[in-house]
Protein backbone atom coordinates (compact mmCIF):
# COMPACT_ATOMS: atom_id res chain seq x y z
CA UNK A 1 0.00 0.00 0.00
CA UNK A 2 2.82 2.39 1.01
CA UNK A 3 4.71 1.57 -2.19
CA UNK A 4 1.62 2.24 -4.27
CA UNK A 5 1.21 5.65 -2.64
CA UNK A 6 4.82 6.58 -3.44
CA UNK A 7 4.46 5.52 -7.06
CA UNK A 8 1.20 7.40 -7.46
CA UNK A 9 2.70 10.50 -5.83
CA UNK A 10 5.56 10.43 -8.31
CA UNK A 11 3.11 10.02 -11.17
CA UNK A 12 1.07 12.94 -9.85
CA UNK A 13 4.19 15.09 -9.58
CA UNK A 14 5.20 14.24 -13.11
CA UNK A 15 1.73 15.05 -14.45
CA UNK A 16 1.69 18.32 -12.51
CA UNK A 17 5.05 19.22 -14.04
CA UNK A 18 3.65 18.30 -17.45
CA UNK A 19 0.61 20.55 -16.93
CA UNK A 20 2.80 23.41 -15.68
CA UNK A 21 5.10 23.09 -18.72
CA UNK A 22 2.11 23.20 -21.05
CA UNK A 23 0.70 26.26 -19.33
CA UNK A 24 4.08 28.05 -19.36
CA UNK A 25 4.54 27.26 -23.05
CA UNK A 26 1.07 28.60 -23.86
CA UNK A 27 1.71 31.81 -21.87
CA UNK A 28 5.03 32.33 -23.63
CA UNK A 29 3.46 31.88 -27.05
CA UNK A 30 0.58 34.19 -26.16
CA UNK A 31 2.92 36.96 -25.05
CA UNK A 32 5.11 36.53 -28.13
CA UNK A 33 2.05 36.67 -30.40
CA UNK A 34 0.76 39.80 -28.66
CA UNK A 35 4.14 41.47 -29.13
CA UNK A 36 4.10 40.60 -32.83
CA UNK A 37 0.58 41.95 -33.21
CA UNK A 38 1.43 45.17 -31.42
CA UNK A 39 4.47 45.63 -33.61
CA UNK A 40 2.58 44.87 -36.83
CA UNK A 41 -0.33 47.13 -35.90
CA UNK A 42 1.98 50.13 -35.91
CA UNK A 43 2.59 49.68 -39.59
CA UNK A 44 -0.94 49.01 -40.73
CA UNK A 45 -4.33 50.57 -40.73
CA UNK A 46 -6.42 49.87 -37.69
CA UNK A 47 -10.12 50.02 -38.43
CA UNK A 48 -11.96 51.62 -35.54
CA UNK A 49 -15.19 49.97 -34.50
CA UNK A 50 -17.08 47.50 -36.61
CA UNK A 51 -16.81 49.24 -39.94
CA UNK A 52 -14.20 51.01 -41.94
CA UNK A 53 -16.21 53.89 -43.29
CA UNK A 54 -13.44 56.21 -42.32
CA UNK A 55 -9.82 55.44 -42.93
CA UNK A 56 -8.52 55.58 -39.40
CA UNK A 57 -5.26 56.71 -37.99
CA UNK A 58 -2.04 55.51 -39.57
CA UNK A 59 0.92 55.09 -37.34
CA UNK A 60 4.12 54.26 -39.15
CA UNK A 61 7.20 52.95 -37.39
CA UNK A 62 9.20 54.90 -39.98
CA UNK A 63 8.24 58.25 -38.46
CA UNK A 64 11.37 60.22 -37.50
CA UNK A 65 13.54 57.49 -39.01
CA UNK A 66 15.47 57.49 -42.29
CA UNK A 67 13.25 56.57 -45.22
CA UNK A 68 14.33 53.13 -46.49
CA UNK A 69 16.38 53.60 -49.61
CA UNK A 70 15.28 52.00 -52.85
CA UNK A 71 16.13 51.91 -56.51
CA UNK A 72 13.31 51.38 -58.98
CA UNK A 73 12.88 51.81 -62.71
CA UNK A 74 10.77 54.47 -64.29
CA UNK A 75 8.61 53.75 -67.32
CA UNK A 76 11.55 54.29 -69.67
CA UNK A 77 13.68 51.76 -67.80
CA UNK A 78 15.89 54.35 -66.14
CA UNK A 79 16.91 53.46 -62.59
CA UNK A 80 15.96 56.02 -59.97
CA UNK A 81 17.07 55.87 -56.35
CA UNK A 82 15.71 57.71 -53.36
CA UNK A 83 19.26 58.44 -52.24
CA UNK A 84 19.84 60.57 -55.32
CA UNK A 85 17.26 63.03 -53.95
CA UNK A 86 19.15 63.69 -50.71
CA UNK A 87 19.10 67.42 -50.06
CA UNK A 88 15.55 67.73 -51.42
CA UNK A 89 12.23 67.36 -49.66
CA UNK A 90 10.57 64.31 -51.18
CA UNK A 91 7.03 63.01 -51.15
CA UNK A 92 7.02 59.27 -51.85
CA UNK A 93 3.49 58.64 -53.07
CA UNK A 94 2.40 55.02 -53.48
CA UNK A 95 -0.51 54.68 -55.89
CA UNK A 96 -2.03 52.37 -58.50
CA UNK A 97 -4.10 52.73 -61.64
CA UNK A 98 -7.00 50.80 -60.03
CA UNK A 99 -7.14 53.12 -57.04
CA UNK A 100 -10.00 55.62 -57.29
CA UNK A 101 -8.88 57.81 -54.37
CA UNK A 102 -5.39 58.00 -55.92
CA UNK A 103 -6.99 59.40 -59.07
CA UNK A 104 -8.64 62.12 -57.00
CA UNK A 105 -5.43 62.95 -55.17
CA UNK A 106 -3.11 63.05 -58.19
CA UNK A 107 -4.16 66.48 -59.57
CA UNK A 108 -3.47 67.97 -56.13
CA UNK A 109 -0.01 66.43 -56.17
CA UNK A 110 0.68 67.78 -59.64
CA UNK A 111 -0.30 71.30 -58.54
CA UNK A 112 1.67 71.13 -55.30
CA UNK A 113 4.74 69.81 -57.05
CA UNK A 114 4.64 72.73 -59.50
CA UNK A 115 4.13 75.13 -56.62
CA UNK A 116 6.99 73.91 -54.43
CA UNK A 117 9.54 72.51 -56.91
CA UNK A 118 11.54 75.73 -56.84
CA UNK A 119 12.04 75.31 -53.08
CA UNK A 120 13.64 71.92 -53.57
CA UNK A 121 10.58 69.68 -53.43
CA UNK A 122 10.02 66.58 -55.54
CA UNK A 123 7.46 63.81 -55.75
CA UNK A 124 8.30 60.20 -56.51
CA UNK A 125 5.14 58.46 -57.63
CA UNK A 126 5.57 54.74 -57.00
CA UNK A 127 3.09 52.51 -58.81
CA UNK A 128 1.93 49.37 -57.05
CA UNK A 129 0.34 47.92 -60.16
CA UNK A 130 1.25 44.25 -60.52
CA UNK A 131 3.77 43.51 -63.23
CA UNK A 132 4.01 40.14 -64.99
CA UNK A 133 7.75 40.11 -65.40
CA UNK A 134 7.62 36.55 -66.80
CA UNK A 135 5.30 37.53 -69.64
CA UNK A 136 6.86 40.17 -71.89
CA UNK A 137 3.65 40.86 -73.78
CA UNK A 138 1.65 41.25 -70.59
CA UNK A 139 4.39 43.36 -69.02
CA UNK A 140 4.38 45.71 -72.00
CA UNK A 141 0.61 46.07 -71.74
CA UNK A 142 0.81 46.78 -68.02
CA UNK A 143 3.44 49.44 -68.61
CA UNK A 144 1.24 50.98 -71.29
CA UNK A 145 -1.68 51.09 -68.83
CA UNK A 146 0.44 52.88 -66.26
CA UNK A 147 1.79 55.27 -68.92
CA UNK A 148 -1.76 56.02 -70.04
CA UNK A 149 -2.77 56.93 -66.49
CA UNK A 150 0.36 59.06 -66.08
CA UNK A 151 -0.38 60.94 -69.30
CA UNK A 152 -4.05 61.43 -68.48
CA UNK A 153 -3.23 62.81 -65.06
CA UNK A 154 -0.32 64.96 -66.33
CA UNK A 155 2.05 63.43 -63.79
CA UNK A 156 5.24 65.27 -64.68
CA UNK A 157 7.17 64.03 -61.70
CA UNK A 158 9.16 60.76 -61.74
CA UNK A 159 6.86 57.75 -61.81
CA UNK A 160 8.48 54.51 -60.74
CA UNK A 161 7.13 51.02 -61.26
CA UNK A 162 7.23 47.69 -59.43
CA UNK A 163 6.55 49.38 -56.09
CA UNK A 164 5.46 46.01 -54.69
CA UNK A 165 9.13 45.07 -54.48
CA UNK A 166 9.66 47.67 -51.74
CA UNK A 167 6.41 47.29 -49.83
CA UNK A 168 7.89 45.53 -46.81
CA UNK A 169 10.28 48.28 -45.66
CA UNK A 170 7.40 50.71 -46.13
CA UNK A 171 5.05 48.87 -43.80
CA UNK A 172 3.34 46.48 -46.20
CA UNK A 173 1.32 49.11 -48.08
CA UNK A 174 -2.01 47.45 -47.35
CA UNK A 175 -4.01 50.36 -48.71
CA UNK A 176 -3.56 53.19 -51.20
CA UNK A 177 -2.83 56.01 -51.54
CA UNK A 178 -0.03 56.00 -48.99
CA UNK A 179 2.45 58.86 -48.75
CA UNK A 180 5.72 59.33 -46.91
CA UNK A 181 7.11 62.84 -46.57
CA UNK A 182 10.89 62.88 -46.36
CA UNK A 183 12.92 65.90 -45.32
CA UNK A 184 16.20 67.08 -46.85
CA UNK A 185 18.22 64.80 -44.58
CA UNK A 186 16.31 61.71 -45.69
CA UNK A 187 14.18 61.42 -42.54
CA UNK A 188 10.44 60.63 -42.61
CA UNK A 189 8.64 63.62 -41.08
CA UNK A 190 5.02 62.79 -41.94
CA UNK A 191 2.91 59.97 -43.34
CA UNK A 192 -0.55 59.85 -44.82
CA UNK A 193 -2.73 56.90 -45.61
CA UNK A 194 -5.83 57.26 -47.68
CA UNK A 195 -7.35 60.30 -49.25
CA UNK A 196 -7.21 63.29 -46.93
CA UNK A 197 -7.14 66.79 -48.41
CA UNK A 198 -4.91 69.01 -50.47
CA UNK A 199 -4.38 71.18 -47.39
CA UNK A 200 -3.16 68.19 -45.38
CA UNK A 201 -0.71 67.27 -48.10
CA UNK A 202 0.51 70.84 -48.36
CA UNK A 203 0.99 71.03 -44.60
CA UNK A 204 3.15 67.92 -44.72
CA UNK A 205 5.15 69.33 -47.64
CA UNK A 206 5.95 72.32 -45.42
CA UNK A 207 7.19 69.91 -42.76
CA UNK A 208 9.39 68.15 -45.30
CA UNK A 209 10.77 71.48 -46.48
CA UNK A 210 11.47 72.43 -42.86
CA UNK A 211 9.21 75.46 -42.98
Amino acid sequence: MKRNSIVLSIVLLLLAAFAWAGWANWEYRKQAAEKRLASAAKAELVADGAGAGDIPHFVSPLMSHPAPDFTLEDLSGKKVSLASYRGKAVLINFWATWCGPCKIETPWLVELRNQYASKGFEILGVSLDDLDTDDKKMLAQEKRDIAKFVAQEHMQYPVLIDGGSIDKPYGGLDALPTSYFVDRTGKVVATQLGLTSKDDIEGNIHKALGE
Binding site: N4, S5, L8, S9, V11, L12, L15, A16, F18, A19, A21, G22, W23, N25, W26, R29, K30, A32, A33, E34, R36, L37, A40, A41, E44, L45, V46, A47, A50, G51, A52, G53, D54, I55, A96, T97, W98, C99, G100, P101, C102, K103, I104, L128, D130, D145, F149, G172, L173, D174, A175, L176, P177, L193, G194, L195, T196, S197
Partner: protein
Protein backbone atom coordinates in the same frame (compact mmCIF):
# COMPACT_ATOMS: atom_id res chain seq x y z
CA UNK B 1 -6.58 8.94 0.03
CA UNK B 2 -7.53 5.73 -1.75
CA UNK B 3 -5.72 4.38 -4.77
CA UNK B 4 -8.85 5.07 -6.83
CA UNK B 5 -8.83 8.74 -5.82
CA UNK B 6 -5.17 9.02 -6.73
CA UNK B 7 -5.85 7.55 -10.12
CA UNK B 8 -8.79 9.88 -10.74
CA UNK B 9 -6.72 12.92 -9.76
CA UNK B 10 -3.86 11.73 -11.93
CA UNK B 11 -6.18 11.26 -14.91
CA UNK B 12 -7.65 14.75 -14.46
CA UNK B 13 -4.22 16.35 -14.26
CA UNK B 14 -3.08 14.39 -17.27
CA UNK B 15 -6.04 15.56 -19.35
CA UNK B 16 -5.50 19.15 -18.20
CA UNK B 17 -1.86 19.02 -19.22
CA UNK B 18 -2.77 17.50 -22.55
CA UNK B 19 -5.41 20.14 -23.22
CA UNK B 20 -3.03 22.99 -22.38
CA UNK B 21 -0.31 21.50 -24.52
CA UNK B 22 -2.66 21.12 -27.50
CA UNK B 23 -3.83 24.69 -27.04
CA UNK B 24 -0.25 25.90 -26.95
CA UNK B 25 0.25 24.59 -30.47
CA UNK B 26 -2.11 27.30 -31.84
CA UNK B 27 -0.28 30.64 -31.82
CA UNK B 28 -2.59 33.52 -31.00
CA UNK B 29 -1.36 35.49 -33.98
CA UNK B 30 -2.90 32.97 -36.35
CA UNK B 31 -6.35 33.09 -34.86
CA UNK B 32 -6.57 36.73 -33.82
CA UNK B 33 -9.08 38.86 -35.70
CA UNK B 34 -6.68 41.27 -37.37
CA UNK B 35 -7.78 44.48 -39.04
CA UNK B 36 -9.97 43.78 -42.06
CA UNK B 37 -7.65 45.91 -44.12
CA UNK B 38 -4.99 43.33 -43.62
CA UNK B 39 -7.20 40.48 -44.71
CA UNK B 40 -10.14 39.81 -46.98
CA UNK B 41 -12.89 42.39 -47.30
CA UNK B 42 -15.14 39.77 -48.89
CA UNK B 43 -16.33 36.57 -47.25
CA UNK B 44 -17.93 33.61 -49.00
CA UNK B 45 -21.14 32.67 -47.22
CA UNK B 46 -22.83 29.67 -48.88
CA UNK B 47 -23.61 27.09 -50.25
CA UNK B 48 -20.99 24.67 -48.98
CA UNK B 49 -22.52 21.78 -50.91
CA UNK B 50 -24.71 21.55 -54.00
CA UNK B 51 -26.26 18.61 -55.77
CA UNK B 52 -26.70 18.98 -59.52
CA UNK B 53 -27.76 16.84 -62.46
CA UNK B 54 -24.60 15.27 -63.85
CA UNK B 55 -23.56 16.59 -67.24
CA UNK B 56 -26.22 19.31 -67.38
CA UNK B 57 -25.79 23.04 -66.83
CA UNK B 58 -27.19 23.66 -63.36
CA UNK B 59 -27.82 26.95 -61.56
CA UNK B 60 -26.00 27.66 -58.34
CA UNK B 61 -26.32 30.94 -56.45
CA UNK B 62 -23.11 31.82 -54.62
CA UNK B 63 -23.55 34.26 -51.76
CA UNK B 64 -20.91 36.67 -50.49
CA UNK B 65 -20.68 39.35 -47.85
CA UNK B 66 -18.56 42.52 -48.00
CA UNK B 67 -17.26 43.95 -44.74
CA UNK B 68 -19.14 47.01 -43.46
CA UNK B 69 -17.79 50.29 -44.79
CA UNK B 70 -16.20 48.69 -47.86
CA UNK B 71 -17.30 48.34 -51.46
CA UNK B 72 -15.95 46.34 -54.37
CA UNK B 73 -16.27 47.11 -58.05
CA UNK B 74 -19.18 45.39 -59.75
CA UNK B 75 -18.58 43.00 -62.63
CA UNK B 76 -19.04 45.95 -64.97
CA UNK B 77 -17.30 48.99 -63.48
CA UNK B 78 -17.90 52.27 -65.27
CA UNK B 79 -14.19 53.05 -65.74
CA UNK B 80 -11.83 50.78 -67.63
CA UNK B 81 -9.02 51.27 -65.10
CA UNK B 82 -11.10 49.67 -62.32
CA UNK B 83 -10.83 45.96 -61.64
CA UNK B 84 -14.10 44.04 -62.10
CA UNK B 85 -15.32 41.40 -59.69
CA UNK B 86 -15.15 38.03 -61.38
CA UNK B 87 -15.74 34.38 -60.55
CA UNK B 88 -13.75 31.52 -62.00
CA UNK B 89 -13.46 27.77 -61.58
CA UNK B 90 -10.15 26.07 -62.36
CA UNK B 91 -10.33 23.68 -65.30
CA UNK B 92 -8.56 21.05 -63.23
CA UNK B 93 -11.50 20.81 -60.83
CA UNK B 94 -13.52 18.71 -63.27
CA UNK B 95 -16.44 21.10 -62.91
CA UNK B 96 -16.98 23.71 -65.61
CA UNK B 97 -18.33 27.21 -65.16
CA UNK B 98 -20.77 27.53 -68.06
CA UNK B 99 -21.59 31.15 -67.35
CA UNK B 100 -22.30 33.51 -64.50
CA UNK B 101 -24.87 36.23 -64.00
CA UNK B 102 -23.58 38.99 -61.78
CA UNK B 103 -25.85 41.40 -59.95
CA UNK B 104 -26.08 44.96 -61.20
CA UNK B 105 -23.82 47.32 -59.33
CA UNK B 106 -25.22 50.21 -57.34
CA UNK B 107 -24.07 53.75 -57.95
CA UNK B 108 -21.54 55.07 -55.46
CA UNK B 109 -19.63 58.35 -55.32
CA UNK B 110 -16.60 59.20 -53.26
CA UNK B 111 -17.27 62.21 -51.01
CA UNK B 112 -14.34 64.13 -52.53
CA UNK B 113 -15.41 63.40 -56.10
CA UNK B 114 -19.21 63.58 -56.24
CA UNK B 115 -19.23 63.85 -60.02
CA UNK B 116 -17.76 60.40 -60.66
CA UNK B 117 -20.20 57.55 -60.24
CA UNK B 118 -18.83 54.11 -59.53
CA UNK B 119 -20.67 50.83 -59.98
CA UNK B 120 -20.11 48.80 -56.84
CA UNK B 121 -21.34 46.00 -54.61
CA UNK B 122 -21.81 46.53 -50.89
CA UNK B 123 -23.21 44.34 -48.12
CA UNK B 124 -24.32 40.92 -49.37
CA UNK B 125 -24.52 39.89 -52.99
CA UNK B 126 -25.00 36.70 -54.98
CA UNK B 127 -23.54 35.49 -58.26
CA UNK B 128 -25.81 33.12 -60.17
CA UNK B 129 -23.49 30.64 -61.79
CA UNK B 130 -24.33 27.74 -64.10
CA UNK B 131 -22.01 24.83 -63.66
CA UNK B 132 -21.60 21.50 -65.38
CA UNK B 133 -20.40 18.63 -63.21
CA UNK B 134 -19.78 15.02 -64.14
CA UNK B 135 -21.20 12.26 -61.99
CA UNK B 136 -19.50 11.97 -58.63
CA UNK B 137 -18.33 14.13 -55.77
CA UNK B 138 -16.10 17.09 -56.62
CA UNK B 139 -14.47 19.45 -54.15
CA UNK B 140 -14.28 22.61 -56.22
CA UNK B 141 -12.13 25.56 -55.24
CA UNK B 142 -13.63 28.39 -57.24
CA UNK B 143 -12.08 31.87 -57.04
CA UNK B 144 -13.54 35.31 -56.61
CA UNK B 145 -11.28 38.11 -57.79
CA UNK B 146 -12.13 41.58 -56.56
CA UNK B 147 -10.68 44.88 -55.50
CA UNK B 148 -12.05 46.58 -52.41
CA UNK B 149 -12.04 50.18 -51.25
CA UNK B 150 -13.67 52.30 -48.65
CA UNK B 151 -14.39 55.95 -49.24
CA UNK B 152 -10.79 57.03 -48.67
CA UNK B 153 -8.48 54.22 -49.68
CA UNK B 154 -8.22 51.04 -51.69
CA UNK B 155 -6.80 47.64 -50.89
CA UNK B 156 -4.80 45.75 -53.53
CA UNK B 157 -6.75 43.31 -55.72
CA UNK B 158 -7.39 40.02 -54.00
CA UNK B 159 -8.56 36.53 -54.91
CA UNK B 160 -10.42 34.46 -52.34
CA UNK B 161 -11.16 30.77 -52.53
CA UNK B 162 -14.78 29.71 -52.83
CA UNK B 163 -14.93 26.07 -51.70
CA UNK B 164 -17.96 24.13 -52.89
CA UNK B 165 -18.65 20.44 -52.62
CA UNK B 166 -20.40 19.63 -55.92
CA UNK B 167 -22.26 16.34 -56.15
CA UNK B 168 -23.22 15.27 -59.65
CA UNK B 169 -26.10 12.78 -59.63
Amino acid sequence: MSTRSFLAAAACLGLLGLAITVQSQTPLADSHDRSILHGAAVEYLFPEQVTVSAGKPSPVALHFRIAPGFHINSHTPKEDYLIPTSLSIPETSGVALKDAIYPDGTDFTLPLDPTTKLSVYTGEFAIRARIVAPRGNHLVEASLHYQACDKNACMPPKTITVPIDVIGN
